[in-house]
Symmetry: C2
Subunit: 359 residues, 2 copies
């Protein structure tokens, strides 16, 4: 039995308590300052407000001012904080870290590091680690097709744990794997994390195909969606390799699997659908902001595009290899027309002849 | 301008006339003996009965007894006949073939060759070619995420043309490609055709995940579907390589792309959903037979499984590498319980740790 503290009581953090509690670990769930009402409900034995579903019985709950208690003697910490707040919250935790502790993260995306460069989230955590802890703690990153509420329901699921230290990934797997929560492991953190970040971006494009019938005689555009899906996976592969990763996670659960899941429903798809229906991106974004809806894919397109552009100046990639990302950036940030742009992108991407790759 | 005869006036053959007519070719559409009423309607200038949509203006239509006229002086023939009838119809055409003619095929699946072995459709055509025509005609096989009616509507689409002779694939592309019907080409016929055949099989499994909510508290099982999708692509890759193909088409339009499209809707998915709802496969199949619905994925699971088993005896593959196909066979042909089987399969497939492949 391990002592495991989950940092963040939102959708994914709360759901992660289920498999680790099912494994008999001592599970503590810490709520951020934004999670007070969630912790109230959980301490009172009520359902998790976001999931409308109860958590496991044997979990301890902590308010944000109880961080020290929540982390006391922990063997593992699971970061489940939004990508923009991840660094700040991790800084609060650092003073409590001891050598040998395992740090997992279910957060996905990009952010700026302290030097102002766009990086994947592993870098955000690692740069905050004090020198004396470097190589003394291991990070494990979680990705794959995994809606939080379904984990809580006990739906058969599989995820990938990525760590440069495979032993750390195995250890977290031993804490978490159950007969319905299945874990594969990889040493390719970069390939895993680029998928985790970019699938939201590409999903906006898939959503557009779902929206096209409304402006085109109710004609379904499933062919367009199937093409875009294929090209999204191919571009994630190009991005992963240019960054130093491999195709393994791209063609595994973090890439193919999570893109399939994300394309089924959700906010990224909804944003795309609005553009597919004929709104300009500015109009679609304004509408979502009015309703206080944040869409991960929107900043992911910008982060991904800017990172690609930076890498191009470094000679690591050519943006012509990633026409879909460039096109999505044009649609989302320059109000390029959705339908005509996607039509051209399918053409451009097909010209790359990816089915003839020698793999 | 080329003279192109499409053999079969069903959904896909009729739709294929659109891009080749848009390119200004002399297009002839020949109806099989089952297509008489379709040819009646088309000759009378009415919509295609299956598509409820008109074909292009400049197409000639032929009844089955007008085969000679339909094939007169043809530069290319496109086979668009169901997989079980493909060989018989091709035998009727063989006497009209001249060296240099290009033979395309949009039919997908497996069948038995004359020796009683399970083969992909290229072998069904090639074994019927008389010696004097061997190496005198080229075959091009069409696959990818492409619903027929959407091609007719002019929806942006992309497909793969596969031929061992890349020049033949390029030639057919030059006849067919438009600004919305995009063609990528590959020399990997085996990889392309194994995907074209197997995506229907795996789609039955994806459908089950869509059906599970009905027997499980209305809990969505999108995580399960995302996992199965990933593992289906991985197994198609293993199958393709064992048969002598590559991963190119599997990770391109014929594999990832067409599986995504096929998983969105259709009969394969409907069969899976019925089993996911709690019916045994026998019950689900009986129900579909009552309604005279044929499901390509059902025989594809058997053909694929038996082919894998034969290859196993030849030392070309181990069935333990393809647990998902074996499991689907058990569900569909031995009435193994759908939910418990899929739960076990997600577990088994995850254990293969595909996200860590070195690609």
């Amino acid at each position: 039995m391990a002592k495991i503290t989950v940092i963040g009581a939102g959708a994914m953090g709360s759901a992660f308590t289920k498999p680790i509690a099912d494994n008999g670990n001592d599970v503590r769930l810490w709520g951020s300052p934004l999670d007070n009402s969630i912790i109230d409900a959980l301490k009172a034995g009520r359902d998790h407000p976001k999931h409308k579903y109860p958590l496991s019985k044997n979990i301890s709950f902590f308010y944000h001012h109880e961080l020290a208690e929540a982390l006391h003697d922990a063997d593992a910490i699971i970061m489940a904080i939004t990508s923009d707040a991840l660094g700040d919250v991790f800084e609060q935790i650092v003073p409590y870290l001891k050598p040998g502790i395992l740090i997992g993260s279910v957060t996905k995306g990009f952010n700026y590091n302290k030097a102002g460069e766009i990086v994947l989230l592993p870098d955000i955590l690692e740069e905050r680690l004090p020198d004396k802890l470097k190589h003394q703690v291991d990070f494990v990153f979680v990705a794959g097709p995994c809606k939080a509420v379904e984990v809580l329901w006990g739906v058969p699921s599989s995820v990938t744990y990525a760590s440069t230290n495979i032993t750390a990934a195995e250890k977290l797997r031993s804490f978490a794997e159950t007969d319905v929560y299945n874990v594969d492991i990889t040493t390719d953190v970069i390939g895993t994390e680029i998928c985790a970040a970019m699938k939201n971006a590409y999903c906006v494009g898939l959503g557009m195909a779902e929206g096209f019938p409304q402006q085109k005689n109710n004609f379904l555009h499933k062919n367009t969606k199937g093409s875009l899906f294929t090209y999204a996976v191919a571009e994630m592969g190009i991005f992963a390799k240019a960054l130093g990763g491999t195709l393994g996670p791209v063609l595994g659960l973090p890439g193919i699997g999570d893109l399939e899941l994300t394309g089924e429903a959700g906010r990224n798809r909804t944003l795309g659908e609005a553009i597919g229906n004929g709104l300009s991106a500015s109009q679609a974004i304004a509408k979502m902001k009015e309703n206080d809806i944040t869409v991960e894919g929107y900043p992911a397109i910008k982060f991904g595009y800017l990172l690609m552009k930076t890498m191009e100046t470094e000679g690591k990639i050519r943006s012509s290899q990633m026409p879909l990302l460039s096109g999505l950036y044009d649609i989302l940030y320059n109000d390029a027309a959705g339908y005509e742009s996607i039509k051209k992108l399918v053409r451009l991407c097909t010209a790359a002849n990816i089915s003839n790759r020698k793999l």
